[in-house]
């Protein structure tokens, strides 16, 4: 069999396994980080340092009584978590985890597949992910679930817009829809975060919203909706929902790392590459350099996972109407402004400087016009 095919399948299986494993251990890290943030120690009785906690949870969920409420729509009730899980797992296919591997003279991407619409693929899959929640919440035939589902739907649609807009700025700069190409365009330390800080902030906020994480965890906000869309779910079906949420978190972190933090790029990547090649040989050196790149990529991803968890245990939750206000009145205009600024900056000879100047102008405009705007609003309210 073709060596390329074999390596490729190994890579794909590895990616699959890695995203599952990371998702499983995200639950553990969530608990530990939450505990540390709250001056606690977190799970420490399941295995050394509680390291077996995810397995215990999984084992328990698998052997819990499987239950479908009498009034529920049986098939959809089962379909809900399945779709969630499916869509969550699909999106990791296009993520470039590293540069190329040199196997017998063939360069193989460390990536499931490099389609030229990679980022759209992620985007599309994520937008389908909401069906899992929607169907599950509706099928449970429970008020709280339905509320959770409806909130999830509207929230996801609203934030997808701003997300897409801020994404466009990145695509504009890197001139490709392929994530691999986007990563390559940030070679070394030429990361997009430095060009588009505003876009980055918007994207992170939207990513939080798309993953239904605090402060946007309205679909399952437990103090309001008991458990939101998965109120009626127990056993492994619940497990799948929780699991898919964590996979989504991993994917979003990875996407943020690739889009704004240069993916597997790191300062001095060329120097290291050359040095390694000199030390060993072309093949080994290249592969080791790729390995370092993969490591860097995962470091960045883990950092963002940490940020996700960190945010969750810090911030209060939005209210539904505020969430919508934020999406439509703040995020969307800002992302359009960001797009315009980036586009304009691309036309100038010094895009980097120009984009910062543009952002400065935007900020100044906000400071100046905000009070005027408020006054008018106040007048309207008084009338």
């Amino acid at each position: 069999m073709d060596i390329v095919l074999i390596v490729k399948s190994i890579i794909i299986v590895t990616i699959f396994a890695v995203s599952l494993g990371i998702a499983a251990y995200e639950t553990y890290f969530e608990r530990v980080i939450a505990a540390f943030i709250q001056d606690r120690v977190g799970p420490d009785r399941a295995g050394p340092f509680g390291i077996l906690q995810p397995l215990a949870d999984g084992g328990k969920l698998f052997f819990k009584e499987d239950f479908v409420p009498t009034l529920a729509d049986k098939w959809l009730f089962i379909l809900g978590p399945s779709i969630s899980m499916l869509t969550a797992l699909m999106s990791s296919a296009v993520l470039p985890f590293g540069d190329t591997l040199n196997i017998k003279g063939q360069l193989i991407d460390v990536q499931g597949m490099d389609v030229n619409i990679g980022i759209l693929w992620v985007f599309g899959i994520v937008s389908l992910g909401v069906y899992g929640i929607l169907i599950g919440g509706w099928a449970s035939n429970n008020k709280y679930s339905l509320f959770g589902a409806i909130r999830a739907a509207s929230q996801n649609i609203s934030y997808e817009l701003a997300m897409g807009m801020s994404l466009l700025a990145v695509i504009l700069v890197s001139e490709s829809l392929s994530i691999k190409a986007i990563v390559q365009s940030q070679h070394g330390i030429n990361w997009h975060i430095f060009h588009q800080p505003l876009g980055f902030m918007l994207f992170v906020t939207c990513a939080l919203a798309e993953c239904n994480r605090t402060p946007f965890d309205l679909p399952e906000s437990e103090n309001e909706l008991v458990a939101g869309y998965h109120t009626e779910y127990g056993s492994m079906k619940l497990g799948l929902y929780l699991f898919s949420e964590y996979i989504n978190m991993f994917i979003s972190s990875a996407v943020i790392a690739s889009l704004y933090f240069g993916g597997y790029n790191y300062p001095g990547i060329d120097v290291v590459h050359d040095f390694l090649i000199k030390q060993t040989n072309d093949v080994t050196g290249h592969n080791i350099a790729t390995g370092i790149g993969i490591l860097v990529f995962f470091l960045k991803t883990f950092f963002f996972i940490f940020v996700f968890i960190w945010v969750r245990w810090t911030l209060p939750r939005f209210k539904y109407d505020q969430l919508m206000n934020l999406a439509w009145k703040w995020m969307l205009p800002l992302s359009v402004a960001n797009l315009i600024i980036e586009a304009a900056a691309e036309l100038t000879p010094m895009p980097f400087l120009a984009s910062w100047v543009g952002l400065g102008i935007l900020f100044l405009a906000y400071i100046i016009f905000r009070p005027l705007f408020l006054k008018r609003k106040l007048k309207q309210n008084l009338q």
């Binding site: 599309g124 937008s127 069906y131």
Partner: protein, 175 residues
């Protein structure tokens, strides 16, 4: 027997095509015949999904992605959203004879038109030798849209803007 032979000789691409066609039709039929509104919307989503698959087979990846994002991901979600809110669950009609007859008529007419159209279209078969495999890709699409059809494109966008403003006006509550 002949058909079996045919099946055996079908390539992977053909298999995929027929699979997608079947799911498309299945979804479409489900959407029409399902008694539960939510179910029929979900069938419709399945249809969109498989149509996107067919787009991919036509090498129009961008179109496929956009189809999923816009139709399956946004519009259909809105549909489901609205239906859930409006409690249309109990509000379904049986599949009675008049509807069946009229549907059959419509399908029949559509079938005739399509057959004719396809017959005519056969004259424009793609030249296999000079076919540009990148024709459906985003670069070409952009090229065509922003160069050849710039004016219509912009006009369409203005049209959308007008529609949007109209929708907002309609949706806004009277004070």
């Amino acid at each position: 027997m002949q058909y079996l032979e045919l099946l055996k000789n079908m390539s992977l691409v053909q298999w995929a095509f027929y699979f997608l066609s079947v799911t498309t039709l299945f979804g479409a039929l489900g959407a029409v015949m399902s008694k539960n509104t939510i179910h029929s919307v979900l069938y419709l989503v399945l249809t969109f999904f498989s149509i996107s698959g067919i787009y991919i087979m036509l090498n129009a990846q961008f179109l496929a992605a956009v189809n999923i994002i816009v139709y399956a991901g946004a519009i259909m979600v809105l549909f489901v959203f609205a239906i859930m809110f409006l409690h249309l669950k109990g509000d379904h009609h049986g599949f009675d004879n008049t509807i069946f007859v009229s549907a059959l008529t419509a399908v029949g007419i559509l079938g005739v038109i399509l057959t004719l159209a396809i017959k005519k279209a056969e004259h424009f078969r793609v030249d296999v030798n000079n076919f540009n495999p990148k024709i459906g890709l985003i670069e070409n699409l952009g090229d065509v849209l922003y160069k050849k059809y710039l004016l219509p494109f912009e006009l369409v966008s203005i049209l959308f803007l007008i529609a949007m403003v109209g929708a907002v006006l309609l949706a806004k509550k009277e004070k």
